[in-house]
């Protein structure tokens, strides 16, 4: 077959320049290597962020007792763990893995081109990102320790060292976040330009796979929203270091200004990480249900609508923060309305399953659990977006459980769906299916056992960022203590279960069963390239003849019709 001949051609191609280990893996401009750099850095930081969660959850369940592998958690340590858990998981796990890693890996392969249009910018993007991660980790080891003023870093607490008592940590935190944004701006330029300019011949805008579209829309959202926050970060560093008073009310500044700048970025940011995860789920779902994506264009329109609306909802984080209370009415309208495009997206996904031939493989299990759990995250958001109800729920564990029911499906479940789905392409080998499923079931059950009790605790009035609830007699009842212990034990089980994944991942990457180019009989272009693709991806640049999801087309023998096959 043509494939076999092409494979030989690829082998020849792969040999004509030998590169040293460092040059190949640390100084590469190859988009696949940069994907791995982002992916593995993200995974290491996820482990760090998970360990932080372990330490502070143990403190909450067993206040004052020494936590194994950590020691006694002091109030200061509790605050800095909570702060940096949030920061790390959003900025150094969700962002690099979902946008940078999958964007880097999938965009050139799915568009049928050999690399990003700006490969050196791409390399610089990761290097700046790595620097930002090092700066953040370093903040734990400076005098005074890491910043502990919550991941939202509201001034005056974050602006004045005599309030936060972490003179160096809070500055390093802001600098790390700003550097991280620089890295993703460079990545975003690459993703958008590559998608607009380097598609395979014949690939029209409506033939672009959904995940690529989603990463492009997310990159646009990120680039548009991040400017105000970078400006805010600069002002905050000036307040900290130079003694300016942008956020200092004693000198004519306004602390609420930071909240506007932060959330003007912070809320679109939710959709920046959500959309790529949605895209991954769409890809996986179509492959394993052998179905065309239901109403491709409507999915795109809902993504655009969500993106545009997301710029008009930020103040729902500030309903009770002392902004003009009349503003809350406007933001209630926009916030509740954002449920319309997102609900429609979920309807589309459920409709796609109709009439399918669904096989619950490991990636499909992850993708389906994304829908099942994200639905709960979505509907609980309405309680918080409706100003009247938010008066009670603001800053309770209900908020915490809500956004973990959105961010966990996004950052962990979406990532797992993507990693398990494209694993054969990345490594040319199959992930062990049995252990993949064991890992899935333990993780997903434990995840629900962690956060369902937190919804209940939040409804009972338990508020956030408190290192020991024994100080609050109304929150110290036995049933609340039991729920905290239950959530913590579930968390420990979930964290331990990740070792199954790590071992399975490493073992399968080297010893797994070898697979061919297209183990799932999928239609999109990345499955045309060899597994794993060599430098330059394709032996012969593909031409595109149709949309990305032509599964089970009537009148054809095979149930898939790849994009690059003429007829």
């Amino acid at each position: 077959m043509a494939h076999a001949a092409a494979a030989h051609a690829h082998d020849d191609h792969g040999h004509h320049h030998e590169e040293g280990f460092i040059r190949k893996y640390f100084w590469s401009t190859d988009h696949k290597i940069i994907c791995f750099q982002y992916l593995f850095t993200g995974m290491i930081l996820a482990a760090i962020g998970g360990f932080m969660a372990y330490a502070f959850r143990m403190q909450l369940a067993f206040p004052g007792e020494s936590v194994p592998l950590f020691g006694v958690v002091s109030p200061y340590e509790y605050n800095s763990l909570v702060t940096n858990h949030g920061t790390v998981m959003i900025f150094w796990v969700a962002m690099p893995v979902l946008i940078a890693a999958f964007g880097n890996y999938l965009i050139p392969l799915m568009l049928g081109c050999d690399d990003m249009v700006f490969p050196r910018l791409n390399r610089l993007s990761f290097q700046v990102f790595l620097l930002s991660a090092i700066v953040l980790i370093a903040s734990f080891f400076v005098e005074g320790g890491a910043f502990g003023g919550a991941w939202t870093a509201y001034p005056p607490l974050s602006a004045k060292a005599h309030y936060n008592l972490t003179p160096a940590g809070s500055t390093l935190w802001v600098i790390a976040v700003a550097l991280e944004f620089v890295a993703f701006l460079m990545g975003g330029i690459n993703f958008i330009t590559t998608t607009m300019n380097s598609r395979a011949p014949g690939m029209k805008m409506w033939d672009i796979p959904m995940v690529v579209w989603m990463i492009v829309i997310a990159s646009i959202l990120f680039m548009v929203s991040v400017g105000p926050l970078i400006a805010g970060a600069a002002m905050l560093v000036f307040d900290q270091m130079l003694g300016t008073g942008f956020f200092d009310p004693n000198r004519g500044g306004d602390p609420v200004l930071w909240q506007h700048l932060f959330w003007f970025f912070g809320h679109p940011e939710v959709y920046v990480v959500l959309l790529p995860a949605i895209g991954i789920v769409a890809e996986v779902m179509c492959v394993f249900s052998r179905k065309k994506l239901f109403a491709y264009k409507i999915v795109l329109y809902t993504a655009f609508a969500t993106g545009i609306l997301s710029f008009f909802v930020w103040a729902h984080h500030q309903f009770i923060s002392g902004i003009d209370p009349r503003m809350a009415n406007i933001f209630t309208v926009t916030t509740v309305l954002i449920s319309v495009p997102l609900a429609e997206m979920m309807f589309v996904f459920i409709a796609t399953l109709y009439g399918g031939s669904i096989r619950l493989t490991t990636p499909m299990l992850w993708a389906m659990s994304f829908i099942a759990t994200f639905l709960l995250g979505g509907v609980t958001g309405i309680f918080l977006g409706a100003s009247g109800a938010d008066i009670y729920f603001h800053d309770t564990y209900f908020v915490l459980a809500h956004f973990h029911y959105t961010f966990y499906p996004i950052a962990i479940i979406g990532t797992m769906a993507g990693v398990t789905h494209w694993f054969p392409k990345m490594f040319g080998r199959q992930l062990n299916e049995f252990w993949g499923r064991v890992h899935f079931w333990v993780t997903i059950i434990a995840f629900n056992c962690i956060f369902i009790p937190l919804f209940v605790l939040g409804a009972g009035g338990q508020h956030r960022r408190i290192y020991d609830f024994q100080n609050y007699p109304d929150l110290a009842g036995q049933s609340m203590v039991n729920m905290r212990v239950f959530a913590t034990i579930s968390l420990v089980i979930m964290l331990v279960a990740q070792f199954i994944f790590i071992i399975n991942f490493i073992y399968s990457a080297f010893r797994g069963k070898k697979v061919g180019r297209n183990p799932y009989n999928a239609t999109t272009l990345e499955w045309v390239a060899p597994s794993p693709p060599g430098h330059g991806n394709f032996e012969e640049m593909p031409t595109v003849y149709r949309g990305p999801y032509e599964y089970s087309v009537p009148g054809r023998d095979e149930d898939y019709w790849p994009q690059h096959v003429p007829n």
Partner: protein, 255 residues
């Protein structure tokens, strides 16, 4: 749904609970409907040997209606939720009913100071009663609060009242509440509420009810976790007695 876990003791607490319940019904309906259909599809359309999936583009009108009709129904639900939420918001945060008394709430790292009017009922007179970490109020009276912060952001949160408001340095934020009862669950604790070292020997705490948590619900630094306070809801008699006992310059002395 919230009042199953925590009592509602202010006049607007019930309104807040009602909008929460309304959302609970709507959101719960859509959530359960979606999950049932979702799992139903997963089961019904599972892989079977020799059966091919259907080819549905979702671009045809009769197909699109399956998502466009629910889409409009969601919109209708949203309108109800928005109207309800805005009504509650206007009642709680945008309206200030005429006060019977005013209290000043001062937040700082990491303690609360409450300035309460003495027997004359006026704030900023010599008989004011200033307390730390305990707020004493009378039931069935409209209170205004003046919320200020001395340093960073704090948040004055009384869960049983469904009251929550950030304190901002440099600003005085006004709001209101009216306790409509002492509730049933708020048995006062000798150690927490009356500072008795020995709970067995604390006559003032005996039989006292109406004590609840006040929280600081905004990250305010290292001591955020200990920035708790207690609210004491008094009956009219109790409040008069408390004022008489604690006011440094009782009315009689002024005359």
């Amino acid at each position: 749904m919230v009042n199953y876990y925590i009592e509602a003791l202010s006049t607007y607490a019930e309104d807040v609970d009602n909008i929460i319940n309304l959302i609970f019904v709507f959101a719960g309906f859509w959530f359960i409907l979606c999950e049932i259909i979702f799992f139903g599809f997963l089961w019904k359309f599972r892989y079977k040997e020799g059966e091919k999936a259907q080819y549905i583009t979702g671009e045809e009108k009769h197909e699109k209606k399956w998502i466009s009709i629910p889409h409009f129904l969601v919109l209708v639900c949203d309108v109800f939720i928005i109207i309800g939420a805005v009504q509650v918001w206007v009642d709680v945060k945008l309206t200030l009913p005429p006060p019977d008394a005013t209290v000043r709430v001062v937040a700082q790292q990491w303690a609360w100071t409450f300035v309460q009017p003495g027997p004359d009922g006026e704030l900023d007179t010599p008989d004011d009663i200033t307390t730390a970490d305990h707020l004493f109020i009378e039931e069935n009276k409209v209170y205004h609060y003046e919320l200020v912060s001395r340093d960073v952001l704090h948040d004055f949160s009384v869960p049983v009242f469904r009251l929550k408001q950030d304190a901002l340095p440099g600003r005085v934020i006004k709001g209101w509440f009216e306790a409509n009862g002492k509730g049933e669950s708020g048995t006062c604790r000798a150690d927490v509420d009356f500072g008795c070292e020995d709970p067995a020997n604390c006559p003032e705490a005996e039989g006292k009810t109406g004590c609840y948590d006040i929280q600081c619900a905004e990250m305010c630094g290292i001591g955020h976790g200990i920035m708790s306070a207690r609210i004491h809801i008094h009956s009219a008699d109790e409040h008069r007695a408390w004022q008489a006992k604690n006011s440094k310059t009782p009315l009689a002395a002024n005359q």
